[in-house]
């Protein structure tokens, strides 16, 4: 238990230390971040080894008892978790090291490391969780960290708007995820994966479809799938290393992980799998199309990430859990590599626009070559890791005979190769743009080299036929389908070739192509990202604002009317009460006083102050009393 709990807790400790230290930590924040992530990495390796030798293990404890139901939380380590732990801790470690160079001298350096630590902790606990509740908590903490890091430079309006957008758009999906979890608890009475999966076997198919689609909503939001992908490109306003960690390698993969983790549920519903595959295909193709016309290097990578996440979803939707997870793993490394590489370029030329870059290969050799290897992996060129994982997905689609989706995937693969070739040729070759770029410091290049090594290494591993991951994740390896492998390689190579012809050789004059009406039209559509942002702006945000206006109107007229009406009634009642008080109540009191005073005024004349008149009265009265008594006596009454 301790071993598993310590993995995220180390990073939580780092967060607490850095937040407590505040600005004092500006000099040494990275040491804390790196040492704790290194500790988590060590423990992850130990966990990985233990899972490999001894199989999965878990710890569950009763967290809280509500009525007759006990809510159990716990941690578990199985092959899926073990792989994710390694991916997260390695990428996080690299990003932590890289950030020393990239974030050097930033005003909120300490805060950056604090949030990075918190994010790592949340992501680690997400994959360690053995139940949906803990997973959801981690999921939301990650959402918060993503918001904080996108808006890290909140002085820039772009960053601040992007952070809000990311938070709100992902929240839409999270509502679905939350509903899914509630539905799970309502039907099975537990959050623990194993029990849920066990209980699901006897459930109505429609119910399972409903639950899995709800869960998939969460995945759509977090993994930036169509139609909620709009937040991810804007999220590039954050620091590049944070984008590498959160918006490329780990957090956005959490949606894929969620589907993979819930795979026993998804497997029970053909409909849900079809939905997952279709959404994945739409996303993969659409995002790849948009990436072709992007001018911002980070946005190209962002759309590429969306597209690749779509591939993972396609793999899962095709029923191949291993294909999806394997692509997640390889993608995490080469996309982190590409982002860090782009960060290195941005650091050198102080711009994100690829038109400001060119001919950087001579000035930044390490960045150039690591970036190109990453691009080749992304394009799916043999023998790099991307080739094998993408191949696995295509093979899975082929086996399931999902032809339209396979077509989309192949077209997407072509586009991926094309846009990466475009970026590489424009940025690293092309004409120099006369800036004084220089290679980044060692703290930035070493992580690039390490990630490149992993990207290549993961491929070598598979090429040797060990299919280590495949076996480890619990499926029997399938022999490489030669037709698919050759076909996808050919597609990728043709994509690169077209890119080379257009952007390097300039064999196809871009100027004339761009003047074609059809091309112009297509470019406009793609530049506008299929108009989705405007659609949301107009129909979702606009409708929401209209609704708000209506609410405001309702508030002003009806609610305020009621309140003001109540006030008026009260006022009238108060006036009546006041009148009653002054006239009736006071009238009685004053009247009494008046009567008493009047009586006194008249009676006081009896008080002459003359002693003898008093005595006369006294004796007069005495005589009267005596006479009265006499009269009574004589009458015989007394």
């Amino acid at each position: 238990m301790l071993q598993l709990a310590l993995i995220p807790l180390l990073c939580v400790a780092s967060f607490i230390v850095l937040v407590t230290a505040g600005r004092r930590a500006r000099e040494w924040a990275h040491y804390v971040g790196i040492v704790t992530v290194l500790g988590s990495f060590g423990l992850s390796v130990a966990t990985f080894a233990r899972v490999m030798s001894g199989g999965p293990f878990s710890h569950t404890f009763a967290w809280v008892k509500l009525g007759s139901k006990t809510i159990q939380l716990g941690l578990q380590a199985d092959p899926l978790t073990a792989v994710m732990l390694l991916v997260i801790s390695i990428v996080s470690l690299m990003v932590n090291v890289y950030s020393i160079g990239y974030m050097h001298g930033d005003e909120r350096y300490h805060w950056y490391y604090a949030v990075l630590s918190l994010f790592t902790a949340a992501m680690l606990s997400l994959v360690l969780a053995n139940n949906y509740l803990l997973m959801y908590m981690s999921w939301e903490i990650m959402g918060l960290c993503s918001y904080l890091l996108i808006g890290f430079w909140f002085e820039k309006e772009e960053a601040y708007n992007a952070s809000k957008k990311a938070f709100l758009v992902t929240r839409v999906g999270d509502v679905g995820f939350g509903l899914g979890i509630i539905a799970i608890f309502a039907t099975t009475g537990t959050f623990v994966f194993r029990d849920v999966f066990h209980a699901a076997e006897g459930m109505a198919p429609a119910l399972i479809t409903l639950i899995t689609l709800f869960l998939f909503c969460g995945a759509i939001g977090k993994s930036a799938q169509f139609p909620l992908h709009v937040w991810l490109p804007d999220a590039m306003a954050g620091p590049t290393p944070a984008s590498a960690l959160i918006h490329a390698a780990t957090m956005v993969a959490a949606g894929v992980y969620l589907v993979a983790r819930s795979f026993p549920l998804f497997e029970l519903s053909e409909t849900s799998l079809a939905v997952v595959a279709t959404i994945g295909a739409i996303t993969a193709l659409g995002a790849a199309l948009i990436a072709v016309v992007q001018l911002d290097i980070k946005k190209v990578l962002a759309y590429s990430t969306i597209s690749q996440l779509g591939y993972m979803m396609m793999g899962l939707g095709a029923g191949s859990y291993v294909a999806g997870m394997w692509h997640l793993t390889t993608h995490a490394f080469f996309k982190a590599l590409l982002f860090l590489g782009s960060g290195s370029v941005i650091h050198a030329v102080h711009s994100q626009d690829i038109r400001d870059m060119g001919g950087l290969s001579k000035k930044m050799p390490i960045t150039t070559w690591t970036f190109i290897i990453g691009s080749l992996a992304l394009a799916g060129i043999f023998p790099l890791s991307g080739f094998f994982s993408k191949d696995e997905i295509l093979a899975a689609l082929y086996h399931k005979h999902m032809w339209p989706i396979l077509g989309a995937a192949i077209l997407g693969a072509f586009l991926t190769a094309f846009y990466m070739a475009r970026v590489c040729f424009v940025v690293f070759f092309g004409r120099e743009k006369g800036h004084h770029a220089h290679e980044s410091p060692l703290v930035m290049t070493v992580p690039l080299v390490i990630l490149t090594a992993i990207t290549v290494g993961l491929g070598l591993d598979a090429r040797l036929g060990a299919h280590f991951f495949t076996e480890f994740l619990g499926e029997h390896p399938e022999p490489i389908n030669l037709m698919i492998a050759l076909g996808s390689t050919a597609v990728a190579l043709s994509g690169i070739a077209v890119g080379w012809l257009v952007y390097h050789r300039r064999a196809i004059p871009l100027g004339t192509v761009k003047k074609q009406r059809l091309v112009m039209y297509a470019t406009t559509v793609l530049r506008n990202k299929f108009g989705l942002d405007e659609l949301y702006e107009h129909y979702v945000v606009g409708a929401f604002i209209k609704f708000c206006d209506f609410c405001a109107w309702f508030d002003r007229t009806v609610v305020d009317g009621i309140v003001n009406g109540a006030a008026s009634v009260t006022l009238v009642a108060a006036r009546a009460a006041g009148w009653f008080d002054t006239h009736i109540v006071d009238g009685i009191v004053n009247g009494l006083g008046f009567v008493v005073m009047g009586a006194g005024k008249r009676l006081r004349y009896a008080q002459t102050g003359r002693l003898q008149s008093y005595a006369q009265w006294m004796y007069g009265t005495l005589i009267v009393i005596i006479l009265f008594i006499l009269w009574l006596t004589l009458r015989g009454g007394l």
């Binding site: 006081r604 002459t608 102050g609 003359r610 002693l611 003898q612 005595a615 006369q616 004796y619």
Partner: protein
Amino acid sequence: MELTLNHYLTFSAVLFCMGLYGALSKRSAIAVMMCLELMANAVNINLIALARYVTPGTIKGQFFAIFVMVVAAAEVGLGLAIVLSIYRQKSTIELNQVNLMKW
């Protein structure tokens, strides 16, 4: 003529009425006080006469009479002091000119 209880009672009544008349009509405070003494003494005569004729052999009536004398003496002392004090303030002891007890 033998004196009977009625003689004493009649005498005391006449004496009381004289005192009462004086007390109510005299203007001088001293005269009023003298009249008060008359009334007190009329009562004393009544008490002793009744004691003598109604309950012979006891001295309850006499006892009361002595009490009344003591009280009357104290009262005169007090009254004269008040009169003196009024005289000092108003330079008069005419009761109809003294109305300090007015409202």
